[in-house]
């Protein structure tokens, strides 16, 4: 056991007792997902930075109310996403989520042949275009579940809705995305 890195539960317990260094370690472990979730919810990088920072500070203060043994990440995402939503509301607008594929990733990845690579690259671009045509709520749930790869529980926490609602919302969003893609078919 000696020398083993502290597990999350240990860090939470230490942070609950006021250990800032322990909480910093927790933040470092979760800052990626928290920041990106805030980015999806707020639509802006600066707002996401502020929301993540503010959310973590509030989470530190709220740690005494955190139920020991409960999953930490969904609890944290609820707080951070709520901050992001508040910022979006306060601004009275939402920046459109800028989704793009960098030049060096435009090729089809690990496609088995050059033809398949071209097809995969085209599929990615079409999907991006389809996502851009979705409504904000649809794009949000798709981005959280597929692009950030949040679990259903985490997406539910970020959206502040029950897990069942995520499921139904996602299903409707995928239906609409598919409809958008079909709508993009070149007319004969």
């Amino acid at each position: 056991m000696e020398g083993r890195p502290p597990v999350e539960a240990d860090l939470i317990e230490r942070a609950r007792n006021g250990d800032v260094a322990a909480f910093e370690a927790l933040v470092r472990a979760h800052q990626d997902v928290a920041f990106r979730t805030a980015w999806v919810v707020s639509g802006g990088v600066d707002d996401a930075d502020d929301a993540a920072q503010e959310g973590f500070v509030k989470a530190f203060a709220a740690l005494p109310r955190f139920r020991a043994g409960a999953p930490f990440r969904p609890w944290l995402l609820t707080i951070v996403a709520n901050e992001a939503r508040n910022r979006r509301r306060a601004a009275g607008r939402r920046e459109a989520l800028a989704l793009r594929i960098p030049e060096d990733r435009r090729a089809g990845g690990a496609a088995p042949s050059p033809e398949a690579a071209v097809l995969a690259a085209e599929r990615r671009q079409i999907l991006l275009a389809g996502l851009a045509r979705l409504g904000e709520a649809d794009r949000e749930v798709v981005a959280l579940r597929y692009l950030l790869e949040l679990s259903e529980a985490e997406a539910a926490a970020a959206l502040d809705v029950p897990a069942g609602t995520v499921k139904s919302r996602l299903s409707r969003a995928l239906d609409r995305l598919r409809a958008e893609l079909m709508d993009m078919e070149p007319r004969p």
């Binding site: 800032v20 990106r36 993540a52 597929y146």
Partner: protein
């Protein structure tokens, strides 16, 4: 088309979205952990020890980054328009800063930098990044790489953080002091308690180098052990100067708090974040070569 692209079914769509996740560009995560740590430590003892209720806010940066550029441009235009009037308004013989030759600065990568006294690197790079102070360095590295003698305030001791501005900041060296009892955290300094900067340059009589938030603030001419300087207090302001060609240059892409600025032997010194002019002067007078 969707058949050709393999998107015929919802299952296909889910697979394609999973593939898209591997290619999509996600924004780079900032160093949230350090910023949060700074804020929590600055809010001690109540939040840190008791952990009850929301942590007191460290004063945060007052403007969003996206507005900074617009503010700078607006300030530049205003400076050009009203520069001649400012001297009268402030009742001050205004100063012009001409920068001398730029020193050769060779800064180490931030990841290998260690704190001022050469110990283990502190985790806080957030303040330097947020204030765009340049690359993290040690005090020893700053002394070696800067083409002028650096001064360190004996009142405060070695800085907690040292940054080299390089040519982009005209060879500026910045000393950051973290919050403590006599130096409360300042939101305009990204949570630092005090910031000291040193540039190779020259103070001449001439044009304005400070705009005190366009219409507010106090500017007091003074001397620091015989060297000419100014104390600028009141509303947060931006730091400006005109280069030798008369071009408006933003000395920093941010608003700054109360500042003591003075010049000696071709070096421009600034202290930001002191609570009072007396405190700033005391720190300034204690500055000696280490």
């Amino acid at each position: 088309m969707i058949e050709r692209l393999g998107l015929s079914t919802l299952a296909d769509l889910e697979v394609a979205l999973t593939d898209l996740a591997t290619a999509i560009e996600l924004p780079q995560t900032p160093d949230v952990a350090t910023a949060v740590g700074v804020r929590l430590r600055a809010s001690a003892p109540s939040a840190v020890q008791a952990s009850q209720g929301p942590a007191p806010m460290v004063r945060r940066r007052p403007i969003v980054r996206s507005l900074r550029r617009s503010l700078l441009l607006a300030a530049a235009v205003t400076l050009l328009l009203v520069g001649g009037v400012l001297g009268v308004r402030f009742g001050l013989q205004l100063l012009k800063i001409d920068f001398g030759p730029l020193p050769s600065v060779s800064a180490p990568p931030a990841s290998t930098a260690s704190p001022a006294n050469g110990g283990t690197p502190a985790p806080s790079v957030e303040a330097g990044a947020r204030l765009a102070l340049g690359l993290r360095a040690t005090l020893g590295e700053a002394i070696q790489s800067t083409g002028f003698p650096l001064l360190v305030p004996t009142d405060l001791g070695p800085p907690d953080e040292v940054y080299l501005g390089g040519t982009a900041l005209r060879g500026q060296v910045a000393f950051g002091y973290r919050p403590r009892a006599d130096l409360p955290a300042d939101d305009l300094l990204a949570g630092l308690g005090l910031l000291i900067t040193q540039n190779q340059g020259r103070l001449d009589e001439g044009l304005v180098h400070k705009i005190v938030d366009m219409n507010a603030g106090t500017v007091i001419p003074l001397e620091v052990d015989g060297a000419p300087g100014v104390w600028i207090a009141g509303e947060p302001h931006m730091f400006w100067y005109l280069d030798p060609d008369g071009e408006v240059i933003a000395g920093s892409d941010r608003r700054v708090s109360d500042t003591l600025a003075w010049q000696r032997d071709g070096i421009l010194y600034r202290i930001e974040g002191a609570d009072t002019m007396e405190q700033a002067l005391e720190i300034a007078r204690s500055m000696v070569a280490p």
